[in-house]
């Protein structure tokens, strides 16, 4: 049993929230550079140049990449041999609170979905917990903008819809997201499980580095095929026409019921902000 001081969590979340909002992670930056090289239109080129310049500037000046500094998401994988000293959830919220205040990040969370009073400190973060083997804690942080979150979709398809139905639904979601999700987008897909797990899978898929494909060759090939088709839409950077509508399609799957085929598509923007630490 390892005694774990929850202050470590506060510090890690505080670090990751600041860093991911100011410094575009290398996988996303590299994806944007490749995208810039693939464009032949002036509008698309100038937009990607601006996006890359923006990332350089934000990093240099310790400013947020995007003014929507997101809803804070924390994926916690807790080793079974951990004993927390203190409340890990409150420790995470404290990390978010400190990071958003100290770094002049925008506070975008309202306390109630209908009465809409801002909480003033960007809490609460959405926290997802999983138990794993060992005595470490893995923390993944994301700042999720809502321009793209709003464009996400979920469908309970019929098993008979099969892979073609799944493809059609993902392409429809990508097209409908169009310019609103700040393309080039990142498409996280969850297939299987049930209603809620498919959505969680889609979100987890967005945490994967953009250059890592699904380890099952069947799904890796599906990811490549879908990326190609999304990019054939011509939506392009910011939706004004061009090659790069999406930087990646990442699929995660789970077993499901004989009667169902849940598919969730969670959309992220080019300002995909994620970070990970092992404590």
């Amino acid at each position: 049993m390892r005694e774990f001081d929850v202050q470590l969590l506060t510090d890690a979340v505080r670090r990751m929230a600041a860093q991911s909002n100011q410094i575009l992670s290398p996988d996303v930056y590299a994806g944007l550079v490749r995208a810039r090289e693939s464009e032949d239109g002036l509008t698309a080129q100038s937009i990607l140049d601006d996006i890359l310049r923006n990332a350089d500037l934000a990093a240099g000046k310790a400013m947020p990449i995007c003014q929507d500094t997101g809803m804070a998401l924390v994926f916690l994988q807790v080793g079974r041999d951990i004993h927390f000293q203190g409340d890990p959830y409150e420790a995470i919220q404290e990390g978010v609170r400190q990071a958003y205040e100290e770094n002049y990040l925008r506070k975008s969370i309202v306390k109630d979905p209908l009465r809409r009073i801002n909480t003033g400190d960007n809490t609460p973060a959405m926290i997802y917990t999983e138990l794993i083997a060992g005595n470490q804690v893995k923390v993944s942080f994301a700042a999720k903008g809502f321009g793209s979150e709003n464009m996400s979709q979920l469908a309970m398809l019929k098993p008979a819809d099969g892979v073609e139905g799944v493809k059609r639904f993902i392409l429809k979601a990508a097209r409908e997201a169009g310019p609103n999700a700040c393309p080039p987008i990142v498409i996280g897909v969850g297939i299987g499980g049930n209603f809620d797990k498919s959505a969680l899978l889609a979100k987890q898929a967005l945490m994967r580095p953009l250059d890592v494909r699904n380890c099952d060759p069947f799904y890796a090939a599906l990811e490549d095929e879908l990326l190609e088709q999304v990019n054939n839409s011509g939506i392009g950077p910011m939706g004004l026409g061009g090659r790069t509508s999406a930087l990646a399609v990442s699929i995660e799957v789970l077993p499901t019921h004989i009667a169902g085929l849940p598919v969730a598509v969670n959309i992220n923007c080019h300002a995909t902000r994620h970070a990970e630490e092992v404590l």
Binding site: Y104, P179, M238, G239
Partner: protein, 196 residues
């Protein structure tokens, strides 16, 4: 082509802009987003004066991040425009000439842009640090209680924009992707069926 444009806009200069034009905008622009628009709209309905002159005005849909000490503003990229669509035709009717945002507008907005001779600019979404560099002054002039959504008066210099909707009723969000597909000979089957 890059065009230099100053605010306030008159109908003639708004009508001279075409989709795909790259514009460097200088002068005063006002910020408003969801809650601010609701208030402006209701004020017009009640026949009240607005906190700024709407004639020739340009509104930027933005909720900036907080300014660091010593800076004018925090990151300041556009928010998605369609959420303002239901309020926009009325503002255009009362003299609004330009809007800065991101994403497609509905048919009513496009028709009003055409009718009243205005222009819809796209700024690069998510390029908040870059855009903030071109903002030289910012002050809250109304709705301070709305926090990031407060109504601000900004001074911008060479603010980089792309004309996405023009007074001929054209829409770069439709024509840009179409042009790409035509140039690269991509037919509907190759991107999973009909767009729209």
């Amino acid at each position: 082509m890059i065009k230099k444009v100053n605010t306030p806009l008159n109908e003639e200069s708004a009508r001279s802009l075409r989709i795909g034009d790259r514009v460097l905008l200088s002068g005063t622009v006002y910020t408003a987003r969801d809650a601010g628009h609701e208030r402006l709209y209701n004020a017009l309905l009640r026949g009240e004066d607005l906190p700024f002159p709407l004639q020739g005005a340009v509104i930027f849909y933005v909720g900036p991040s907080p300014a660091k000490p010593g800076s004018v503003i925090g990151s300041a990229g556009p928010t998605t425009s369609y959420r303002m669509d239901s309020y926009t035709p009325m503002l255009l009717e009362h003299g609004l000439k330009g809007m800065i945002g991101k994403g497609q507008r509905n048919e009513e907005v496009k028709a009003a842009i055409k009718e009243f001779g205005a222009v819809y600019f796209a700024a690069v979404g998510g390029a908040g640090a870059l855009l903030a560099e071109r903002i030289t002054d910012a002050k809250i002039i109304a709705f301070e209680d709305l926090g990031t959504e407060a109504l601000r008066q900004l001074e911008v210099v060479d603010f980089p924009l792309i004309v996405a909707g023009d007074a001929e009723g054209r829409d770069l969000y439709i024509e840009g992707p179409e042009e790409y597909r035509a140039q690269h000979e991509i037919d509907a089957d190759n991107y999973g069926g009909q767009l729209q």
